[in-house]
């Protein structure tokens, strides 16, 4: 359905997207996961036809975006990161405008508007000017505007940034509903949980490059049976290094003042033994946490830093 090959985009000396390529199948919910500045939004802008790639090619259903942009854009829905709405109009008027832009009219338009209002749970507030909406409601309407014309593929660029958990939940439910209806979705996020919960396949991006791609299970398998142990406290880094040096399969993955992240593979007795040694060494430990294999661990292994950094 969507093919991106060798995408490159540079801004001055910055190579924002560096050889990114992937294929998204019809009806698939594909996640682009990466921290801020990873190149996700630039990739989405190229997919939406707003930015021309310096190199590479994008095809939607076999149609070259660069050659026939309007044909592609008519089948595409876009949900930008920041709500792009007309605040003096009501939700229904906004939806009617965007639906009309794609050629919907009459009953088709009215039906489509009602359908997406129900989907995002705004039917009862549809007649109000949206300048009175909360941030979460605006984001839900922002999602609805990208869906009103019934696109075959939707690009969603971090649609849940900066909203309360309840509103996020509603948006995630709506996204699942869209995907369940057979719409192809490319979804960017820097929230691990969202990617894990929503996406059929996930691509991990950082510094403009696509580092890994696969289903959640495939990606976690790349981590192996390893666990992540985080130790916080007031101690000399060298002291902790000496404690774990003698333990097989334990490596210091990340280090910052007062906080150490250790990767523990399955060759020894795992996290339990590490914790015993650390606590028994008389170090001033304030807290420890153990994470099972996860996307965060994969990201850490691939980039040397955690996704939340």
């Amino acid at each position: 359905m969507i093919e991106a090959q060798g995408l490159v985009k540079t801004f001055g000396s910055l190579r924002a997207v560096d050889g990114v390529g992937f294929t998204v199948r019809k009806g698939e919910l594909y996640g682009l996961l990466g921290p801020n500045g990873a190149g996700k939004t630039t990739t989405m802008s190229m997919l939406a036809g707003l930015l021309a790639p310096d190199e590479g090619q994008i095809r939607f259903g076999g149609i070259d975006l660069a050659a026939r942009p309007l044909e592609v854009k008519r089948q595409l829905g876009v949900v930008p990161q920041e709500p792009a709405l007309y605040e003096t109009l009501t939700a229904r008027e906004n939806l009617r405008f965007w639906g009309g832009l794609y050629g919907l009219s009459g009953r088709d338009l009215a039906g489509a508007v009602d359908r997406v209002l129900d989907l995002v749970g705004l039917a009862d507030r549809a007649a109000e000017p949206i300048r009175g909406y909360s941030g979460g409601m605006k984001r839900r309407l922002n999602l609805a505007l990208g869906l009103v014309h019934g696109p075959s593929a939707v690009l969603m660029d971090e649609p849940t940034v900066g909203i309360d958990p309840q509103a996020r939940l509603k948006i995630l439910e709506a996204v699942k509903g869209v995907a369940a209806a057979g719409t192809t979705v490319i979804y960017t996020t820097h929230y691990l949980e969202e990617a894990e919960e929503l996406c059929d396949r996930i691509a991990i991006m950082d510094h403009g490059k696509l580092l890994a791609e696969g289903t959640l299970e495939e990606l976690i398998r790349r981590v192996g049976g390893r666990e992540l142990v985080t130790v916080r406290g007031a101690f000399a880094p060298q002291a902790l290094r000496e404690v774990v040096a003698s333990l097989p399969g334990v490596t210091v993955t990340a280090e910052e003042p007062g906080r150490f992240v250790l990767t523990v593979d399955g060759s020894g007795r795992g996290a339990v033994e590490v914790l015993g040694r650390v606590l028994g060494a008389g170090l001033d430990v304030h807290g420890v946490s153990v994470q099972p294999p996860s996307l965060n661990m994969l990201f850490l292994n691939l980039t040397g830093r955690e996704l939340r950094d």
Partner: protein, 426 residues
């Protein structure tokens, strides 16, 4: 594009209708401004203050009396309220701010003038009364010129007349009078065309009535509406430019809202978007013109050419759309655009004669004025309203205005196209 442009325009008009305050303020500006000036200066004609003139005539001769009485003549009395005083009293009244100006005719004025000696009339002006003392000064200057010219032309007969004026022993004989009369006749014949007919004729006409005597026989409120219509065209042209500016500013607003990106990610091309904004701007300007025209029509006393008005208005709308397209195409930010447009419109309105009549501007500004669309629009509307001009009389104005607009729109369209692309990728 044909399907999308009306859709885009309808959306923009609906947004404007939901948030009309800015537009209403801009539209009320010319009406209030012209209305206030008309009320201040036009109520029944009597509200215009008279020049309070003090006349201290210390001369006992004929010409001193003639000069003094000139300010009391029926025609002058519409402008001047003249009071005869002594020089001492006059200065005292001036000190107390009780008059606009004091004119002192010195003793021996008539004799000195007839003898060809230099004479000085002393005019003291009240600086606190703005333009009124200036009127007194201008009028006195004209009278001095008349007297000076008369003395030179009638130099020979005056030489004959002088002994008779000095003689105290009875009236001159018929023969003497006949001889002097013949000398006067010859002198005037020599001056011929220079003096008759007079080189300058002042004919007053009340705007809207096209009746030269209407000023004298003013009807109630007639002057108010005349002044209103005198002020309105220029200020209205300025206001319509501001309406166009507001409409085109939406390019920047949509960039900030993110809706520009969203449209361009959909089936809207940059070209369609630009045409949509230009069409919205033109339509809003036309609507605003209709509103201001309706207000102006209330003050109008006689019909004007609708065809001429339409021709000029359409050309003006084209010029406004083009000008605003250039400004918003070149500006990088909304603030930059707002500053740029305020400056450009203010300067063009001033230079183009929208705020002050072009005749009252310095010569170098009058030479620059035709390079602004404000000039052609304001002049054309004044021709229509003040002189009852038809389409043929304002065709040149409209053609130049349309040519300017077309050129600006072509250049502005390209600039706006680039700006919209920048906005899409920002």
């Amino acid at each position: 594009m044909i399907r999308l442009v009306p859709h885009l325009v309808a959306k923009d008009l609906k947004r404007k209708a939901r948030s009309p305050l800015g537009l209403l303020i801009v539209l009320s500006f010319p009406v209030l401004f012209a209305g206030m000036i008309a009320l201040a200066f036009g109520r029944g004609g009597d509200a215009v203050p008279k020049v309070r003139m003090l006349m201290a005539n210390e001369d006992d001769g004929l010409l001193g009396s003639a000069l003094a009485s000139a300010f009391s003549a029926p025609q002058a009395s519409r402008v001047f309220e003249t009071r005869a005083v002594s020089a001492h009293d006059g200065h005292e009244l001036m000190e107390r701010g009780k008059a606009s100006a004091l004119l002192v005719v010195p003793a021996g004025f008539t004799r000195d003038l007839l003898d060809g000696r230099a004479v000085t009339l002393r005019l003291t002006r009240n600086p606190s009364e703005g333009i009124l003392p200036e009127i007194a000064e201008q009028t006195a200057g004209i009278l001095v010129d008349v007297l000076e010219g008369g003395r030179r032309v009638l130099d020979e007969p005056l030489a004959q007349l002088r002994p008779l004026l000095d003689a105290r022993d009875g009236a001159p004989s018929d023969a003497e009078i006949t001889a002097i009369a013949l000398l006067v006749k010859r002198a005037l014949e020599k001056s011929g065309d220079l003096v008759f007919p007079p080189a300058i004729t002042l004919e007053s006409e009340l705007l809207g009535s096209r009746n030269p005597h209407a000023v004298a026989g003013k009807e109630a409120g007639g002057t108010t509406s005349a002044i209103f219509l005198l002020i309105l065209p220029g200020i209205a042209v300025y206001a319509i430019f501001l309406v166009g500016d507001q409409a085109m500013r939406d390019v920047m607003t949509e960039r900030t809202l993110g809706t520009l990106r969203r449209q361009l990610a959909g089936p809207v091309t940059v070209g369609t978007y630009v045409v949509g904004k230009a069409a919205t701007t033109a339509l809003l300007c036309l609507l605003s013109l209709a509103v201001l025209t309706a207000v102006g029509a209330l003050a109008l006393r006689s019909p004007v050419s609708v065809a001429a008005f339409m021709v000029v208005s359409l050309a003006l709308v084209l010029a406004i759309t083009g000008t605003s397209a250039i400004i918003y195409g070149l500006a990088r930010t909304e603030r930059q655009a707002a500053t740029l447009s305020s400056l450009i419109y203010l300067v063009m309105a001033f230079v183009g004669g929208s705020f002050f009549r072009i005749e009252s501007l310095p010569a170098f500004l009058r030479n620059v004025a035709p390079f602004t669309p404000f000039y052609w629009a304001t002049q054309a509307y004044r021709e229509i309203l003040e002189k009852g001009a038809g389409p043929a009389a304002v065709l040149t104005h409209a053609a130049i205005l349309a040519a300017m607009g077309g050129t600006f729109l072509a250049l502005g369209g390209v600039a706006l196209h680039r700006a919209a692309r920048r906005g899409a990728t920002a």
